[in-house]
Each structure stands twice: as structure tokens, then as C-alpha cells.
């Protein structure tokens, strides 16, 4: 049972800050981020690794935080949706492009998409439409039909090639 004695201290870096929290060994990373660290921007859509809403970056690579345990993140460097915006409130170019192209509706899956797209543009600065769709096939959106998400990615990619930081 979940007694305090069984909890482990988890120290990690999130959005550029060194943070610590407590987690039972079985606690998922997603629940740890949300409930222990209060970072509720990471969403849970299926809790079995299919929908991609809980996607975050771990050491620069996208991972599904519902399929990792908090204790596995010990010592790692994470970025969540809360870490995309610049400290002065300027939106990340991918966030800006999603807003401009209407790439979100209810916004529940959006944090997962944003994190996947950030990784895509870092590894593929000039993706084709097919590459975009294939890359994002691990993220499910029920609202947009993906059309404007793809448009947003193209827009963000173009901006990045013009020198915007992604």
C-alpha cells in the first residue's frame, strides 16, 4: 500500500530548474509531474501509451510520461509544455504557429503535439507533409482533423529556417 515509508526522493531537472519530489516506485512520471510538481500542462488521455497527450521531452527526446515511472526520471533533464514559453512571455515559435494556423481546438492533446513538433523540427528542419504526418502519427487529436496542425508545423518550420529558435 502507498505508505510514506516506501516513497523515494526523485531529483530531476524540469524546464531548466532543479526540482525534487517524492514518489512511490510505482508512480508514473506523468502523475509525478502533475500531482507532485504541479505541472498540470501535461495531460493524460489514455494512460496506456497510445494517444500521446502526455508527451514530454526527456534529455531532448520525446517520451510518453504515462509509460515511465517517476523514479526512472531521476537525474534526467525534462521539458514540459510549461517550459516552451520564453521567460518574458513570448510564445515558442511552435506555439505561435499553432495559434496562427488554428492548430488547436479544445487544446487537450496540444501539449503532446507541441512537444513532438519541437523534437521534429530539431531533427528535421524542413519536413515534407508526409514526414510531418508520419512523425505525428503517435499523437491523436479528435478536434482538428490534423489539417491545421500540419499547417502549423509547416509554418513553424519555415520560421525556424528563417532563424527562429526552436
Amino acid at each position: 500500500m502507498g505508505t510514506l515509508a516506501e516513497r523515494r526522493r526523485v531529483a530531476l531537472r524540469v524546464n531548466g530548474r532543479d526540482l525534487e519530489g517524492w514518489a512511490e516506485p510505482r508512480m508514473t512520471l506523468a502523475d509525478f509531474l502533475r500531482d507532485e510538481l504541479g505541472l498540470t500542462g501535461t495531460h493524460l488521455g489514455c494512460e496506456h501509451g497510445v494517444c500521446g497527450a502526455c508527451t514530454i521531452l526527456m534529455d531532448g527526446r520525446s517520451v510518453r510520461s504515462c509509460l515511465l515511472l517517476a523514479v526512472q526520471a531521476e537525474g534526467h533533464d525534462l521539458v514540459t509544455v510549461e517550459g516552451l514559453e520564453a521567460p518574458d512571455g513570448t510564445l515558442h515559435p511552435v506555439q505561435e504557429a499553432f495559434s496562427e494556423a488554428h492548430g488547436l481546438q479544445c487544446g487537450f492533446c496540444t501539449p503532446g503535439f507541441l512537444m513532438s513538433v519541437v523534437e521534429l523540427l530539431r531533427t528535421h528542419p524542413d519536413p515534407s507533409e508526409e514526414e510531418i504526418r508520419t512523425w505525428l502519427s503517435g499523437n491523436i487529436c479528435r478536434c482538428t482533423g490534423y489539417q491545421n496542425i500540419v499547417e502549423a508545423v509547416k509554418l513553424a518550420a519555415a520560421r525556424a529556417r528563417e532563424g527562429a529558435r526552436v
Binding site: V81, E82, H102, G107, F108, C109, C141, R142
Partner: protein, 810 residues
């Protein structure tokens, strides 16, 4: 007309006419404004039920039936109560006599005008919040465990002991109506929960005279809404004030308040229901947990939250479609449909919470854009051991359109005519508009299609699709052994269903405008579009307007967001309230400016005498003059403050329409379908924000694509759900949805002052029919017929194999 006089009081035509004259021309309405809600959604700052932080929060988990039909002989929670960290457990015994019956909301919403007109019978079938003695579907709630932590609550569920005495299972609609079928609910004579019959024209006579007839059976599988955010309920009880506050994922907060007030015995204003940010909905419904969790919070005097997981969601939340239609058409040699008979079954699952919403929608939309003056439609909603069906995006329309546009295709192929040409021959011509359909809508008012140009819509869609180019491509591909096809579907959609929606608009002391409404957006962008409407009619900038929704404390009455209704009903309410508020600003400003109210202009948030903008006042100055104080500067007797409230009660629904054209490639060896291009041309009247309209259409089309080729909630013959996770239930991903091109027609509605028609569901209506028709076209040489969706590769593979065998046999 006599019906309307006897019916509820909707907005009178003369008032509508007057408002239409007074309405200011669109300026911000129609612009592609960026959404104001985006910033919080993009930065992780939105607040869903699961994001709320509440001190002392306890967590509930729910034990659900693993049997589709059984008597519960024992439910023992003592093992769960022994688990460290568990606070309490609840079964039906704890609720009996303390929670009132869960009455179907759909039945109460049926217009009394309708019963006689359609020979309607609805069997009342209240549902228990927790299963009491019997379970009727896999997933039905049996017991709840509450603990200090969600993990512990779920652990403890495994210690609840349930003994089931299995009963015979009714696994599908056809089984439900067999004479020897087990009757699922004690007190009912059979498993038929709804019956109606509606007739337009003279069907028998039309069939007698018809040169040709044919008959087919069509089925649409069971789809699940699949909002990306599963449901959640958080309830807090203030025992001192006897006030209940409930936050939940439900776009009908006022309806939930009514349920809670009645079922828990509280004055309505002692119940506050808040729907915070929601990750979609795609349908409506009141669910047992919406009442159970508040009850538990009251019983424990502690805040309690339950968060649905995806397995619970797939087994319970907003199942839809699941219809079987036996349809017969009479037609002539030119392919003109002369009459139609349809007898259909809706597999409602174990209960029928939405009465006739889905089934009557199917009947009312069956003839779509086609001129078929003689039609008889008979329906039975039947009960089976599956999750209850509720309205989901399209709600009966995709089923109806699949039947209509498929049968039209069958007729065309029977006569060796081009299916697109046969559509042209059957579309209602623009000069016949507005067109009476000879039967009532669900609100009891006779259906009259709004002004529209259906043939023009089809031609526009074919042009956008480049049909000629595609036909050339198809021919070239055929020579390479590749199978391309094109399919068309043409739909109408009654949108803006009543009974009402309201708006309270206030100008605060800083001059900022806040709109409060009972609609509850969950992705539709109403915070932006309602601000656009308000800005135009009041005379301010959209950025001066905040829109607040989803809280019963904001406004006395509300209906909510579903059924493509909010742009129409809330949009009209906001526009009319803003016009009234503008009059108020004019009368107060007139006192200050010492001119006639009629000579005061309100533009860009300033009030000034006509022709003298430099003498203008800010809205803050006007608000200060109107405030309740001894130096108030308002006309005598006109009250204090700058506020307007208006509830829009539409005369009936307003009809949107759309035409879809899709190009597909079929792999004859695997049965796989690849969608190449998708074109939609719609008419939703005056668009509030074309970008948002297009987004709604894109999303609807993707939803419909799932319905057409991927998604199905599958139960086996024993009533077990086989699609309980996303490994088995396939949602469309970016690789299955093709590029979508959208074109528009704009025929303003005459049923509201601003010309608005709804658009939320339309996209989802077309794809099953259009895609099935395209696949038939691709496989023309095989002459296959598609009578069922989803058209999974396995189903299509079998059709291809059977067709080949037929061909080889001669």
C-alpha cells in the same frame, strides 16, 4: 401555425424582423480573428477537472460490471474498507432512498407536440446510479471506493467481492426483437423502448405507380465519442451552508444542476455546477458518476474527485450509431426517387437516456438534400446488453445519410447511370426553397428547409475537387492496375436546436465588457466568436470583451453546447443582448452629452454624438455615470448599471447543408483504403469566423472518417466488449486523414437576426456515405455493394473476394 400557437412561445416573426433591421452589419464577425483561448491552452495554463487543487481531496474509483447481464447476489466491500488509506465504500444499498431516480433527460425534452404526429411511444426506463440487483452491460457502475489517493482507491477495488448470477444475453438489435428474446428490464413487455412512425405524402400510392423499386439493408457500427479528455467529477460540500459545488467535464452544467437538485433534494441555487476547461465532448449526456460523486462528497463531508480512465471511457461514455435500416425505394428509369420506406432499429444499449434524439434525428434527416415527397419512416429503439447510446457528433445524421446516399448510388448503378448525375436529378432545386418536407422536426415544428442552393453546392464541390482531372487520373491508374474512385454525399443538418440559450452582458467600471452565457464551449472557440458578435452589436473591439461560460453561477438558465447549437442560439442571444446594451449606453451617454439617445454613436468602445467623435466618452465614463450612487446620470426610472440579459428562443432549427467529395485508392489485394483527397463545400449561413468554421469541418470529417473505415466498439456474442483500449479501438491518426479542402456558400438563416447556422457536426455526417460510394466506384468492375460501415480492410477484403467468386462463377 395553430401548432405553433398552441406550443411554446418562441421568438415571434415580427420581433425577428425588427431585430434583423436593427442588427448592425458584420465587421468583426466574418473576420479570421485568432482565438483568445489559445494562449492558455498552448502554455499549459488551462484548468481541467483533473488539474484542480483542492485541500483535503479524497479520490474515488469505481468498480464496474464484468458481466453483460447478471443478477448481483453479493456485493461485499468489507475487504476494500480494510485497505490502509481507504475512507469509505458505497454500493446501491447506501444510495437507496437517499438518491432519487435517474430520469432520462431525453424523454423530458421531447416536444409534447410530437407524440401524436409521429405515433410516438417511449417506455420510461430510469437507471440506478449504482447497479441495484441487476447489471445490464459490461462497465456498469456497481460500487465506489474512496481513498486518500487514486492509486490506493484502485488497489482497493480489487478487494470488493462481487458474485454474479449470469443471465441470458441480448447481444444485438436483431436478437433483441426475436419473440423468444429475454426481456432485459423487469416491468417491460419486450425490449422495445421507443416506437414511432412518421409519414410524408402518400407512400403507398407512389409505390403503386412507380416503374421500379428496390430494397436494401444498411448497417452502421457502434462508434464511441472519444473526447481526448476522459470525464471527471469533483464535488465539494459545504455542510454549514448546505451548498454543493461540483466541477465536472460536461457541457451542460445547468442540466446537471437540475439533476443534482432533484436527485439529492437540494434547492437548485444551493447547487453550483462548473464545467472548467474541457478536452472535447462530441456529444452530450448525464452520467451516473455526475450524481454519484456529489452524493459521496455530501455523505463524507469531504471533497471527492473521480477521474475516468480510458478503459472506463471506452466501455461507458457516449457510445453512438449502431443502427440497422431496411429501406425500400421507388424510382423511375431516369433515376428519380419517387418514394421511400425505411424501417430501422437503433441498438440503444442497456438504457435509453436520450429517448428519441438520435433515432428521430435519423428520421428527420433521412431524405437529406433530395426531393422525395413521399416517405414513411418507422423506428424502434431496442435494448441490448451494451453501453447506453447517447447523441454523438452528427447524432443520427451520419446513419441517415449513409442509407440515403448509398441507396441513391445503388439505384444509379442498377440503371447504369452516373451516380453524380443521379444526384443532380434528385436534388431539391434552389427555386423550390424554402422547401417543406411534410413532417415535423423533433421540436414538433414542421420541417421547412432554409433557403439554399444544393445543386450549386454540388457543382462547386466537384469543381474544387476537379472531377474531370480525377477521372483522368483514375483512368491512368486503372491501366497500371490501381483502383481509384470518387464518392459524393450531400447532407442537411438541422442546427441551433432550442429550447433557448441566453446571455448576460455587463460593462464593468473599467469599461470592460463581459459576456456570460449558458453555452459551454469545449474547443469550438466561442470565447472568440461570441466576442466578435458582441463587439459588432455593442460597438466595441473584440479585445474589450471577455466571454465566461460553463458555470451555473454566471447565468440563471442555460442549455449547453452540443447539437451544432451554440453559434446559433448563444450567438443570437449575445447579439440581441449586445444591441439592448448598446441602447442603454446610448441613453446614459445622451444624458451626459446632452443630445438625443438616437444621436449617440457607439464605436470602438466610445460613445459620441453623431458626427462629433472628439466629444466622445469612454465606456468607463458611461459606466461611472450609470452606477448606483446619488449622482447617477440615467433617465429617470431606468435603473442602475450597464447590463443586458436576453434569452433567445428560436422558432425551430435552421438548416445547414454540405456536400462532400472524396477520392480514394483501394488495394484490391488487402482491402486497405487510402484517402487521397477530401473536399467539402458547406453552407452555415453567416460565418462568425471562417477559420473556426473550417476547423470544425476538418475535425468533423476526421470523426466521420473514423466512423467510415476505422472505429467500432465491438461486442462479442456473449456481450463482452472487445475494444476496451486504443490497441483495439482505432482512432484516425494524421496518416489516415487526407488533406481537406473546404469551400463555402453563405445563405444567411432567416430564423435569427444575424443569419447564423450551425456547423459543429456537419463534417462528421458525410464521410461514411462518401467514402463507401468512392470505394464502390473504385471497384466498379467488381460491382460490389457496401451495406455496412466501418469498412475495415477485413470487411472490404471479403466483399472483394465474394465479388471475384461471383464474377468467376459467371
Amino acid at each position: 401555425m395553430s401548432d405553433r400557437a398552441a406550443g411554446p412561445r418562441t421568438i415571434p416573426p415580427e420581433e425577428l424582423e425588427e431585430l434583423r433591421r436593427e442588427a448592425r452589419p458584420p465587421r468583426h464577425v466574418g473576420a479570421r480573428l485568432r482565438r483568445t483561448e489559445d494562449r492558455r491552452l498552448l502554455t499549459g495554463r488551462q484548468r481541467h477537472v483533473g488539474d484542480l487543487r483542492v485541500p483535503g481531496l479524497a479520490h474515488a474509483a469505481i468498480l464496474r460490471s464484468s458481466f453483460p447481464h447478471a443478477r448481483l447476489t453479493r456485493v461485499d466491500v468489507s475487504g476494500a474498507l480494510a485497505v490502509d488509506g481507504v475512507l469509505a465504500a458505497f454500493t446501491a444499498d447506501d444510495l437507496r432512498d437517499r438518491v432519487g431516480p435517474f430520469v432520462e433527460s431525453g424523454r423530458e425534452e421531447v416536444s409534447p407536440l410530437l407524440y401524436e404526429k409521429i405515433d410516438l411511444r417511449i417506455e420510461p426506463l430510469p437507471m440506478a446510479v449504482l447497479a441495484d440487483g441487476l447489471v445490464h452491460w459490461v462497465g456498469q457502475p456497481i460500487a465506489a471506493v474512496v481513498a486518500e489517493d487514486r492509486y490506493v482507491a484502485e488497489d482497493a477495488l480489487e478487494r470488493v467481492e462481487v458474485e454474479y448470477d449470469p443471465l441470458p444475453v441480448v447481444a444485438d438489435a436483431e436478437a433483441a426483437i426475436r419473440p423468444d428474446a429475454p426481456v432485459l428490464h423487469p416491468g417491460m413487455a419486450d425490449n422495445v423502448v421507443v416506437r414511432f412512425r412518421v409519414e410524408a405524402g402518400d407512400v403507398e400510392e407512389a409505390f403503386r405507380r412507380a416503374p421500379r423499386t428496390l430494397r436494401r439493408r444498411f448497417r452502421m457500427g457502434r462508434q464511441v465519442a472519444n473526447a481526448m479528455e476522459p470525464r471527471g467529477v469533483l464535488a465539494g460540500w459545504d455542510a454549514g451552508r448546505e451548498e454543493l459545488t461540483v466541477h465536472l467535464t460536461n457541457a451542460r452544467p445547468h442540466l446537471i444542476r437540475t439533476f443534482l437538485s432533484r436527485m439529492l433534494g437540494l434547492p437548485a441555487d444551493h447547487v453550483r455546477v462548473v464545467a472548467p476547461d474541457m478536452g472535447g465532448s462530441f456529444g452530450t449526456g448525464v452520467f451516473p458518476e455526475d450524481v454519484l460523486i456529489p452524493f459521496i462528497a455530501m455523505a463524507l463531508d469531504r471533497p471527492v474527485r473521480w477521474l475516468e480512465d480510458r478503459r472506463e471511457n471506452l466501455a461507458n461514455t457516449r457510445h453512438a450509431r449502431d443502427q440497422i435500416h431496411d429501406v425500400e425505394v421507388a424510382f423511375d428509369e431516369e433515376g428519380r426517387i419517387l418514394a421511400l420506406r425505411d424501417a430501422f432499429l437503433v441498438d440503444s444499449g442497456a438504457y435509453n437516456p436520450y429517448a428519441i434524439t438520435v433515432s428521430y434525428n435519423a428520421a428527420a434527416h433521412l431524405r437529406g438534400q433530395y426531393r422525395i415527397d413521399h416517405a414513411r419512416i418507422e423506428c424502434r429503439n431496442v435494448l441490448t446488453n451494451k453501453a447506453p447510446v447517447t447523441p454523438v457528433r452528427g447524432a443520427g445524421r451520419p446513419e441517415a445519410l449513409f442509407v440515403m446516399d448509398r441507396i441513391l448510388d445503388v439505384v444509379a448503378r442498377e440503371l447504369d447511370l452516373d451516380p453524380i448525375e443521379v444526384r443532380r436529378r434528385n436534388l431539391i432545386p434552389p427555386e423550390a426553397m424554402p422547401y417543406p418536407m411534410g413532417m415535423p422536426y423533433r421540436d414538433g415544428v414542421d420541417i421547412v428547409y432554409d433557403r439554399a442552393d444544393f445543386p450549386g453546392q454540388l457543382e462547386q464541390a466537384l469543381k474544387l475537387f476537379d472531377l474531370e482531372g480525377f477521372r483522368a487520373e483514375q483512368e491512368a491508374a486503372r491501366r497500371e492496375g490501381r483502383r481509384l474512385g470518387v464518392g459524393v454525399a450531400c447532407y442537411v443538418e438541422g442546427s441551433g436546436y432550442g429550447p433557448h440559450e441566453g446571455a448576460v452582458i455587463r460593462i464593468d467600471p473599467s469599461g470592460h465588457v463581459t459576456v456570460h452565457t449558458g453555452a459551454k464551449p469545449h474547443g469550438q472557440g466561442l470565447e472568440t466568436t461570441l466576442a466578435q458578435v458582441c463587439a459588432d452589436q455593442l460597438g466595441v473591439r473584440p479585445e474589450d470583451v471577455s466571454v465566461r461560460a460553463g458555470d451555473t453561477a454566471l447565468i440563471a438558465y442555460g442549455v449547453g453546447t452540443f447539437a451544432s447549437r451554440s453559434a446559433v442560439t448563444a450567438g443570437s442571444a449575445v447579439g440581441i443582448a449586445a444591441l439592448r446594451l448598446r441602447r442603454r449606453v446610448q441613453e446614459v451617454a445622451a444624458e451626459l452629452l446632452e443630445v438625443d439617445p438616437g444621436d449617440v454613436e457607439v464605436e470602438e468602445g466610445r460613445a459620441f454624438p453623431r458626427g462629433a467623435p472628439e466629444r466622445g466618452l469612454t465606456l468607463a465614463e458611461v459606466a461611472a455615470a450609470a452606477g448606483p450612487h446619488p449622482r447617477v446620470r440615467v433617465p429617470a426610472g431606468s435603473g442602475f448599471g450597464l447590463q443586458a440579459e436576453y434569452y433567445f428562443v428560436p422558432p425551430t432549427v435552421t438548416f445547414s447543408s454540405g456536400t462532400h467529395v472524396v477520392g480514394v485508392e483501394v488495394d484490391e489485394e488487402t482491402g486497405g483504403i487510402r484517402l487521397l483527397r477530401y473536399v467539402s463545400v458547406d453552407d452555415c449561413g453567416q460565418m462568425l469566423n471562417p477559420t473556426i468554421v473550417e476547423g470544425q469541418i476538418h475535425g468533423g470529417i476526421a470523426h466521420g472518417i473514423g466512423n467510415a473505415i476505422l472505429e467500432e466498439a465491438v461486442y462479442d456474442e456473449e456481450g463482452q466488449l472487445l475494444t476496451g483500449s486504443y490497441m483495439d479501438y482505432l482512432l484516425p491518426s494524421p496518416t489516415e486523414v487526407p488533406p481537406i479542402e473546404v469551400g463555402h456558400q453563405e445563405f444567411p438563416s432567416e430564423l435569427n437576426p444575424f443569419g447564423i447556422k450551425g456547423v459543429g457536426e456537419g463534417g462528421a455526417v458525410g464521410p461514411p456515405a462518401a467514402i463507401a460510394n468512392a470505394v464502390v466506384d473504385a471497384l466498379r468492375p467488381l460491382r460490389i455493394e457496401i451495406d455496412r460501415v466501418p469498412l475495415t480492410p477485413e470487411r472490404l477484403f471479403r466483399l472483394i473476394r465474394e465479388a471475384r467468386e461471383r464474377k468467376e462463377a459467371g
